[in-house]
């Protein structure tokens, strides 16, 4: 009896020690862009797009598992593997796309910072420069690891969306019915919304991030089981938070016919419908999510671009040793923050184009990944099982199909 308990605690110990890659990736996933997409989708379509979270969840798990397996077996980053096996041209296309998309993503994160702080009455001309400088300072002064842990703790507060959702008094029966029988008209708007939700849940840059953090943790095949649990927990957290954000917005905004463009609008609109507290919780969640992603995203992007093109990279390097890396990192941060400070900046089209690029990039990255993970020379005995390939290729075909459908619908309207 006691022996059993001890071994349970031992196992828990091992799990806690390797915990991280999946859960952090999952938390970063629900960034400002994600929260915006979920709230806008729910405000327009009510409960009728919640079902998209189920296929997203399955694909997310399958993809992250492949990333983790590749990281464990090869000890190499995804950027390295793509460069070594797909050559310069493909790498160049992917990373130019990734750079532009992440610049857009970073802008969206700062929009989240600005928007959430405005709910609390702080002007964006104060909040954005302060937060931007703090993030830059935090990373360049080498306290990034600590920051990551604090943010991880804070990201538990994303579960506050559950409270926010319940305060909106949702109709649970209706939610169930719309997951099984969604009432949805097929048109440009709804398809682009579906692509948006999938694109924000499975962002291309996350694949690179996931694989690097697995390597950094020095995980081994022996710990594979725990890594898998970590991934599943992270994916569940992502989808649960997304679910409650959609419920919160659907049961209040949609039922009252309120239309929104930004996550901030959702927070403001919640005020008269669900009370001050619900509104503030929503804004606080947005703030934490934005600042967390704004820290990780520019850093990760600069790192992968340098990795792929063979420049020195890493926050442990000095400025002179890794000039390209620091210039890129600082550049992304400054441009992202500066765009927000321009009066009347076209934020809606920036976030739209970011999602389009993300959506175009995702199938390319996924195809590279599946080819890599099936390559016996790279993966040895740990190549994909048929089930991974079916889900992976299925997801690629569906994504390309959706993008093509969107294009065709747009052409004929």
């Amino acid at each position: 009896m006691f022996k059993n308990r001890k071994s349970f605690f031992q196992r828990l110990g091992i799990f806690l020690a390797i915990l991280g890659p999946g859960i952090i990736t999952g938390s970063v996933d629900n960034d400002a862009g994600g929260i915006t997409t979920y709230s806008v989708a729910a405000a327009i379509y009510g409960y009728n797009l919640i079902w998209t979270l189920i296929p997203s969840f399955i694909v997310l798990i399958v993809i992250q598992e492949m990333n983790a397996r590749m990281g464990i077996v090869t000890g190499k980053g995804l950027a390295d593997l793509i460069r070594e096996n797909a050559g310069v041209k493909v790498t160049f296309f992917i990373f130019i796309g990734l750079l532009i998309a992440d610049l857009g993503n970073t802008t969206t994160e700062f929009a989240g910072v600005a928007g959430s702080m405005e709910v609390f009455g702080v002007s964006k001309y104060i909040s954005v420069p302060v937060v931007g400088f703090l993030i830059w300072f935090l990373v360049v002064k080498g306290t990034y690891k600590i920051a990551e842990r604090i943010f991880l703790l804070f990201s538990v507060s994303l579960l506050m969306y559950v409270v926010s959702a319940i305060m909106g008094k949702p109709h649970w029966g209706e939610i169930g019915t719309s997951i099984i029988h969604p009432q949805l008209e097929i048109n440009t708007k709804s398809i682009s919304m579906i692509i948006g939700i999938i694109g924000t849940t499975i962002a291309p840059w996350m694949q690179f991030y996931m694989q690097s953090s697995v390597i950094e943790k020095g995980l081994k095949m022996k710990q594979y089981k725990y890594t898998l649990i970590d991934i599943v927990v992270g994916c569940v957290a992502t989808v649960v938070v997304a679910f409650f954000i959609m419920v919160a917005c659907a049961s209040t905004l949609h039922e009252n016919g309120v239309q929104i463009n930004e996550a901030k609008d959702a927070a403001l609109a919640l005020k008269p419908l669900a009370g001050d507290f619900a509104s503030q919780i929503f804004a606080f969640g947005l703030f934490i999510a934005s600042i967390f992603s704004a820290t990780i995203l520019p850093l990760a992007t600069a790192f992968y671009v340098c990795e792929a093109f063979g420049f020195e990279a890493g926050i442990d390097k000095k400025w002179d040793e890794a000039k390209e890396f620091y210039v890129l990192y600082t550049g992304i941060l400054i441009i992202g923050a500066a765009i927000i400070l321009i009066p009347n900046a076209p934020l809606v089209s920036i976030s739209l184009w970011t999602q389009v690029i993300n959506g175009m990039l995702l199938p390319v990255v996924l195809v590279c990944m599946i080819l890599l993970v099936n390559n016996k020379k790279i993966m040895g005995q740990y190549v994909n099982k048929p089930i991974n390939n079916i889900i992976g290729w299925g997801a690629i075909v569906v994504l390309i199909g959706l993008s093509a459908a969107l294009l065709v619908l747009q052409l004929f309207q």
Partner: protein, 422 residues
């Protein structure tokens, strides 16, 4: 007549190759060079073969009858006579595209890994050599196919695209294409690197390549490098080696370092390794492994030089010459009585400046600062800063000398702690 033609690998790969009657014989896929670059007197690897694809068929030909011509800035591959390479000739070579291009190689001067964007080759009369690797931005643009327009654009503003080359003699390639076949490749050039630099490079390599590179090191160097690696990499390397080879490397390392590595391995593996290691080394390691991790005994070094107080300076020097201890045990010398109880210390300086016939009890400093083997590791830092010592003797509760703690052994722990608190 000597003709010199220089060209880039990227300019010939994917190009059509022609015979002397200007008929296409296929598409160039890869160039094969000597695996061992020191084989040729120039120190540069000679291009021996060429891989050509024609109608979905892949063939390897000798490069002897091929030559590269530049016509109006275009590079053309021409062959006078096709001679197929025999399979054993192929296997003696390294593939430039598969093993070098886009892969990481070791830059010996910069002591780090760099990624190859292109390879520069030169033909001098009949031989073609790989002379340098291109790791600069110009190489990247050339591969993407926009180097020339970009160069033109830059020249308008009177500047040039930054280009960066490393000569072949200053790099060591890691042959990724043969990692599974385990053809032996000597990494002779890596001998010149400091073990710490080599350890950093190994940590940056992928799993297979790091294991391959490590197993190519000789045992002495392997032991030095293993000591410098991070724990995760140490475990990965030990697990990738055969038990015999791993034991041989561990035999050459100080017992306390070995104990640290074994601590991170699975119990079964530890037992196998200890049984395979030499008796006296494994005995010391076992004793260290018995200490819990938080106690001083677990990190102490057991290789200490201790002497009887009645010995003369000359005796001690003779003994040191015979035993040839490592530097750290040489600088810190201890005096013990018949029951091995620690009574004093003396330094190498004291020894060297004293007359040969002087006895040790005349030069020793009695009642030394010491740690107990069951004391907490955390207390070492205080001792070191308080007494300004580079090494502190460790005794058990009966005052019997067990080993010593050297500042090197605790500095990593201390630095980690500071980083955590930052």
């Amino acid at each position: 007549m000597t003709s010199i033609t220089t060209f880039y690998l990227s300019r010939v790969i994917g190009q059509k190759a022609y015979d002397s009657r200007n008929k296409c014989i296929g598409i160039v896929k890869d160039l094969l060079v000597d695996r061992d670059s020191s084989a040729h007197s120039s120190g540069h690897p000679v291009v021996n073969g060429i891989k050509i694809k024609h109608d979905k068929l892949i063939a390897f030909y000798s490069f002897q009858n091929f030559h590269i011509e530049k016509i109006n800035g275009k590079t053309k591959v021409i062959c006078d006579q096709l001679t197929e390479l025999s399979p054993e000739n192929i296997s003696n070579n390294m593939y430039l595209v598969e093993a070098v291009l886009d892969n990481q190689i070791v830059d010996l001067n910069g002591r780090k890994l760099v990624r190859v964007n292109d390879v520069r080759l030169v033909t001098i009369t009949n031989d073609t050599f790989a002379v340098a690797v291109d790791i600069g931005i110009e190489g990247l643009l050339r591969r993407i196919g926009i180097a020339k327009p970009m160069k033109f654009a830059f020249s308008i503003f009177g500047s040039a695209i930054p280009s960066k080359f490393i000569l072949w003699e200053d790099v060591e390639t890691i042959d990724y294409s043969n990692l599974n076949i385990k053809l032996s490749k000597s990494y002779a050039k890596l001998q010149t690197l400091h073990p710490s630099d080599l350890a950093d490079i190994i940590e940056d390599l992928g799993r297979k390549a790091s294991a391959e590179l490590f197993s190519a090191l000789d045992e002495e160097q392997a032991a030095d490098v293993l000591e410098e690696l991070e724990v995760e990499t140490q475990v990965h390397i030990i697990e990738s080696l055969s038990i015999e080879k791993a034991a041989d490397v561990l035999d050459l390392m100080p017992a306390d370092e070995v104990a640290d590595i074994l601590d991170a391995l699975g119990d079964e593996k530890v037992e196998l390794l200890l049984n395979e290691m030499e008796k006296d080394t494994s005995q010391e390691v076992r004793e260290l492994l018995d200490y819990p991790n938080h106690e001083v005994g677990s990190i102490m070094s057991t290789e200490v030089m201790s002497f009887n107080r009645h010995k003369t300076v000359e005796d001690v020097l003779a003994e040191l010459r015979a035993k040839k201890p490592e530097a750290e045990s040489l600088y810190n010398l201890f005096v013990i009585n018949k029951k091995d109880v620690l009574i004093a210390t003396f330094s190498l300086r004291d020894l060297v400046i004293s007359a040969p016939e002087m006895t040790i009890d005349k030069i020793m400093k009695p009642s030394p600062v010491r740690l107990y083997d069951d004391q907490e590791v955390d207390e070492i830092a205080e001792f070191i800063s308080k007494y300004n010592m580079l090494a502190i003797p460790v005794v058990d509760r009966n005052e019997v000398l067990q080993g010593m703690v050297v500042i090197d052994d605790v500095i990593d722990d201390l630095m980690n702690k500071r980083r955590m608190n930052k």
